[in-house]
């Protein structure tokens, strides 16, 4: 079984691959566009008591296309002393990590791109690839602000990678599997104290892990309380300073697509992913799920993603920026000890019950 089980029997390998690539594009660009329009344009404006873009299309819904067209026609400036090859591929590395990330996200019982047994492990590994891209961008720009921004980003992303991994470990212990699909099933087939009306979404039992994970995601996305790498008042735009036109657009898409994909992963890990609690329809395991979940599942996951991105963006629009030392201290001295304690308690309770 794979994501295109209905068609894969007749289709040759190349068309399956093409379908997967198209599906990946949709799964990355659709959340990115929605996140930018719904949250960056509209929610941010409303939180500042203004309306945001209103002219391009109804309620400014075509504004994003206008912005993309604007970026595409801008000159692609490369600084004279930049390392040209590295400078050019750095944004692609960042975007690539987003595409690699979406590959393991399950969208339905059969709607997935790949079904790794070690999906969680893979997810945590490829999410750090973007650090490489950011470091490359910062170093290759031949600009002190870019370099400072890149180094700050590297320090921050590595520091917050740890609490993220440790927060997920709690989920993995409780689910007993590293397969993201398996984690979804474990949550929705489970029960809380014998009551299975809501399944067992891990944001209840793993609430500490959920909070730590969301904080770490906020930092991984360099959204505002943790946006030291692109602190505009001191570093112009950090590692993005020298980028313009299409390459800046790729960074921009990468940032918000990653926000969407991380929110999807958080929804899979903590909110039950694409599924509804199995007891609602009398399902018991993967094989008894009705086929229509392959269509409804992505919509459910999308809704949960929007709810989580709302939280990420809400915090972003409301918070001032951490200082560099506060940021590191918070990761190493607060988040990591708490998540270690969380793992210990989870493990003990897992064995006890």
């Amino acid at each position: 079984m794979n994501s295109f089980a209905l068609v894969s029997a007749e289709l040759p390998y190349w068309s399956q691959s093409l379908l997967r690539v198209l599906g990946g594009l949709v799964a990355v660009l659709l959340p990115a566009g929605t996140v930018v329009y719904l949250f960056l344009f509209k929610m941010m404006s409303f939180m500042q008591s203004r309306l945001g873009p209103m002219e391009a299309g109804p309620y400014g819904s075509m504004q994003l296309l206008a912005e993309v067209a604007k970026w595409l026609q801008k000159e692609d400036v490369i600084p004279a002393r930049a390392d040209k090859f590295i400078f050019k591929i750095a944004p692609l590395v960042v975007l690539m990590s987003t595409f690699l990330l979406v590959a393991v996200v399950p969208f339905g019982p059969d709607a997935w791109f790949t079904n790794f047994e070690a999906g969680v492990f893979y997810m945590l590994a490829v999410s750090s690839v973007s650090v490489l891209g950011i470091l490359m961008a910062g170093w290759a720009s031949a600009n002190k602000y870019s370099l400072l921004g890149g180094l700050r980003a590297a320090g921050q992303l590595i520091a917050y990678e740890l609490p993220m991994v440790l927060a997920v470990v709690g989920v993995v212990i409780q689910a007993g599997t590293m397969n993201l699909q398996g984690i979804v099933v474990a949550q929705n087939a489970g029960s809380m104290f014998g009551w299975s009306g809501l399944g067992n979404p891990y944001f209840v039992t793993q609430f500490v892990g959920f909070v730590i994970f969301m904080i770490a995601v906020q930092a991984e996305l360099t959204q505002t309380p943790f946006d030291m790498p692109i602190a505009e008042s001191e570093l112009v735009a950090g590692y993005m300073t020298e980028y313009s036109g299409f390459r800046f657009l790729i960074f921009f898409i990468g940032e918000f697509a990653t926000a969407g994909v991380f929110a999807m992963i958080a929804a899979v890990l903590f909110l039950g992913g694409w599924a509804v609690p199995f007891s609602w329809f009398g399902w018991t395991d993967m094989d008894s799920i009705d086929n229509w979940m392959n269509v409804v599942g992505p919509l459910i996951l999308f809704t949960k993603m929007l709810a989580l991105v709302f939280i990420i963006m809400w915090v972003r629009f409301s918070s001032p920026r951490f200082r560099e030392d506060q940021l590191q201290r918070f990761a190493w001295k607060v988040l990591i000890p708490i998540s270690l304690a969380n793992i210990m308690v989870t493990a003990v309770l897992k064995v006890a019950f």
């Binding site: 929610m43 404006s45 409303f46 939180m47 500042q48 008591s49 203004r50 309306l51 209103m54 809400w314 915090v315 629009f317 409301s318 918070s319």
Partner: protein
């Protein structure tokens, strides 16, 4: 009662603003579609009452960025009383204000001893060409129609000082 952390207060503020904007509308005005009415004493544009101007050049000299240009010549006017000598008056040839330079400080309006310059709240006079922002005597005179009536004096303000 324990103190609510500032972060959650901040989240509350932004969320309340979000709900308020969604239900009651934004604080901003969608400018080209609806116009904001500025206060009557707003500093929109400077109008010239040509008849009052004696081309004394005080406004030109007081302008911090030299955006007022006056040229004038002397003319003989008929005497006030029969048999008197002919009067010399300054006739304005040119009175331009370059709004590309003007910084709306209003010193010219304050300094004018003969009440020839007035503030008008009009603000829609942007131009595609920067040279068109130089308003000449005729155009500055047209702005006079938009100058609001001076407000009533406060009680007692019209009394002459005792000294």
């Amino acid at each position: 009662m324990p103190k609510i952390p500032g972060m959650f207060k901040g989240l509350g503020v932004t969320f309340n603003t979000l709900m308020k904007t969604a239900t009651e509308g934004a604080n901003t005005v969608q400018y080209p579609h609806e116009k904001e009415i500025p206060p009557t004493r707003a500093r929109g544009v400077i109008a010239l009452h040509e008849g009052n101007c004696t081309s004394c050049m005080l406004c030109v000299r007081s302008c911090p960025d030299w955006c007022i240009y006056i040229e004038a010549h002397k003319e003989l006017a008929p005497p006030r009383r029969a048999g008197g000598a002919a009067r010399k008056v300054n006739e304005l040839d040119r009175f331009d204000i370059d709004y590309a330079l003007c910084m709306y400080c209003g010193i010219c309006v304050d300094v004018c001893p003969f009440d020839a310059l007035f503030w008008s709240p009009e603000y829609e006079y942007s131009e595609p060409r920067i040279a068109d922002l130089l308003h000449d005597k005729a155009k500055l005179g047209e702005w006079m129609e938009t100058v609001p009536e001076a407000p009533e004096l406060e009680v007692g303000a019209d009394k002459k000082g005792k000294k």
